[in-house]
């Protein structure tokens, strides 16, 4: 096996005549935390959608552990150990918190087509569900519908659901968006812990978090890679500074 977990080659996505992502070559090393940053509209989420196959690239190749996944279906990719979260909190609103996590765990039981079995067979997952909910501080909300949670807690629930799968490769699209300062520290710790022995690719606007967590940073601008390197290298890059000043002014 190569030591590159995710690799893209000339990744390109066109919407009409507009290039949202253009010729991106990305290499995410195994067991590292890699951040994707850039101004709004740079194409970060599009990149995520391409890598996780929620969008089909216009051209270019994507590899997972050296194997071509350019035509793999998104659900199959998840079963191969690459799981993503979404930029806008993505929970199952009218399921309880416990059920949200349990649905993720359920897949490993290989019973998800069994319509003749009682739901009670899923109770064997209860302990694991409880433990996962405790790790994000949502255990006392386990019976509440996800729709009733505050935004920050929905994000925590989503994170818990993602981590429940123990995926080999994790993709987070702005995991800290809409979280309180206290929760951010908890999520940073959770991601750092989850990243042990795993590969993480994340999009994040909070530079403190990016500096704290990432081994490598790739800066995107207008669909193209502008710079890549450690936090020091990237933050001292004059082009990156200009892009950020321009992007926010």
């Amino acid at each position: 096996m190569t030591d590159i977990a995710i690799e893209t080659e000339g990744l390109t996505k066109q919407f009409g005549g507009f290039y949202a992502v253009q010729g991106v070559n990305l290499q995410v090393k195994r067991h590292t935390i890699h951040a994707l940053i850039g101004p709004n509209g740079a194409g970060k989420s599009t990149c995520f959608n391409l890598i996780t196959k929620f969008l089909q690239p216009s051209s270019g190749k994507i590899r997972l552990n050296g194997q071509d996944i350019t035509t793999t279906k998104p659900a199959a990719l998840a079963r191969r150990g690459m799981v993503r979260s979404f930029q806008i909190s993505s929970v199952f609103p009218h399921l309880t918190c416990a059920e949200n996590v349990r649905v993720a765990l359920q897949r490993q039981m290989h019973n998800s087509f069994k319509f003749w079995k009682p739901e009670s067979v899923l109770h064997e997952l209860d302990d694991e569900v409880d433990e996962i909910l405790k790790s994000v501080g949502l255990w006392d909300m386990r019976g509440a519908m996800a729709v009733e949670l505050s935004y920050g807690r929905k994000r925590l629930l989503e994170l818990a659901t993602t981590l429940a799968l123990k995926p080999e490769v994790l993709l987070f699209d702005e995991p800290m968006a809409g979280m309180s300062t206290g929760d951010i520290q908890m999520v940073v710790d959770l991601i750092r812990k989850a990243a042990e022995g795993r590969t993480v690719l994340m999009v994040e606007h909070n530079m403190g978090v990016v500096a704290d967590l990432s081994d490598t940073i790739t800066v995107l601008q207008r669909g193209q890679v502008l710079a890549e390197g450690s936090y020091e290298e990237v933050s001292n890059n004059p082009e990156v500074r200009a892009a950020y000043m321009g992007g926010h002014a």
Binding site: S85, F86, P93, L95, V103, S112, G143
Partner: protein, 339 residues
């Protein structure tokens, strides 16, 4: 956990009372009418499995109900099948038909799904007009009710009622089990948030197809059973209006609740029965009642009662059921298409 077990106990008690009521009901009301109600209630419950728990609005369920009716009628009349085998034949055919129509429609989203199912159901309708075995405008008449297991004569109206009740209970139990199963859990997650379910590794289309086939199968079972009650299979059962009627029953009673479609079907069938004299006016009155109910109870009758009840007790909605979620939102266009 204690409240959960007591809830279960209460559930069983309610279930027992309901069964007892269903058993004594034909002593007070005309059994054939009651049997008709049960057939439509099962049809609506099958439809609700798809709309309420998979979030898919099919506008072609008459195809399964009506085509199975023909199959069951033909099997009973021409091949001399016993009633349970005739129903089985209709049900199996509905499963296959469901697989074919489902495969063609399942990738479409929202209103496109409804349109594709409608178009395919219309094709089934035209086959039923053209095929010789359906006898065109006449339909298949004089279908014998036969002997259950070759022994029990179903010719009496009481006998047929209890037979239909048994079929109804089997169908509803299959639906209940499906909704409360590992499969049902995944199905609900897909209804709630399809991209998220996919990102967890579930091939949403395969689960939706499975739900579609199950729903079609039970709809076919309901149609096959209705044939034995009325000794008749006709084009009415396979026409698009029937697809509309089942949407109406389900929404009226409450999408995504176990009891809602049953209540909705009872109301509509009763109304049609008592309004039969006024002829064409029936449709207008039905439409008005429907509009009135939808405006007043957005969740349907049962959905609304449940919602008020849980609010009154300051509790939360039961996890297994959907109140105002995505599925009901998607059905908002349905009455327009129907009217």
């Amino acid at each position: 956990m204690a409240s959960k077990t007591s809830g279960n106990w209460k559930g069983w008690a309610q279930f027992a009372v309901a069964i007892a009521a269903l058993i004594v009901l034909p002593f007070f009301l005309y059994p054939v009418f009651l049997a008709k109600v049960l057939c439509f209630a099962l049809f609506a419950a099958a439809f609700n499995l798809l709309l309420g728990f998979a979030g898919l609005l099919s506008f072609g369920h008459a195809a399964f109900f009506g085509f199975s009716a023909y199959v069951s009628a033909h099997a009973a009349k021409e091949w001399g099948f016993t009633p349970e085998l005739a129903i089985l034949a209709g049900t199996v055919v509905a499963a296959f038909l469901g697989a074919v129509i489902g495969l063609l429609a399942i990738r479409r989203q929202g209103i496109y799904f409804a349109m594709v199912t409608l178009a395919l159901a219309q094709m089934v309708f035209f086959i039923c007009i053209q095929a010789p075995f359906t006898h065109g405008e006449d339909g298949i008449q004089g279908v014998p009710r036969g002997h259950f297991l070759g022994i029990v004569d179903l010719e009496s109206n009481f006998a047929i009622y209890y037979f239909v009740l048994a079929v109804f209970l089997i169908g509803v139990m299959v639906i209940y089990r499906t909704v409360h199963s590992p499969f049902g859990q995944v199905l609900k997650s897909i209804r709630e948030n399809e991209p998220r379910a996919i990102s967890l590794g579930y091939d949403a289309d395969r689960y939706k197809l499975m739900a579609f086939i199950l729903s079609a199968t039970i709809a076919g079972m309901a149609g096959s059973t209705k044939v034995l009650v009325f000794k008749l299979a006709s084009l009415t059962d396979v026409a698009w209006q029937m697809s509309g009627e089942v949407v109406l029953m389900t929404i009226l009673g409450g999408v995504g609740t176990m009891l809602g479609p049953i209540v909705g079907a009872s109301i509509i069938v009763t109304m049609q029965n008592y309004l039969a004299e006024v002829g064409q006016l029936t449709l207008i009155i039905q439409g008005l009642v429907f509009m009135f109910c939808v405006l007043l109870f957005r969740r349907g009758i049962v959905g609304e009662i449940k919602h008020r009840w849980t609010q009154m007790r300051g509790g939360k909605d039961e996890p297994a059921h959907l109140s105002p979620g995505k599925a009901t939102g998607e059905t908002d266009g349905a009455p327009v298409t129907h009217g």
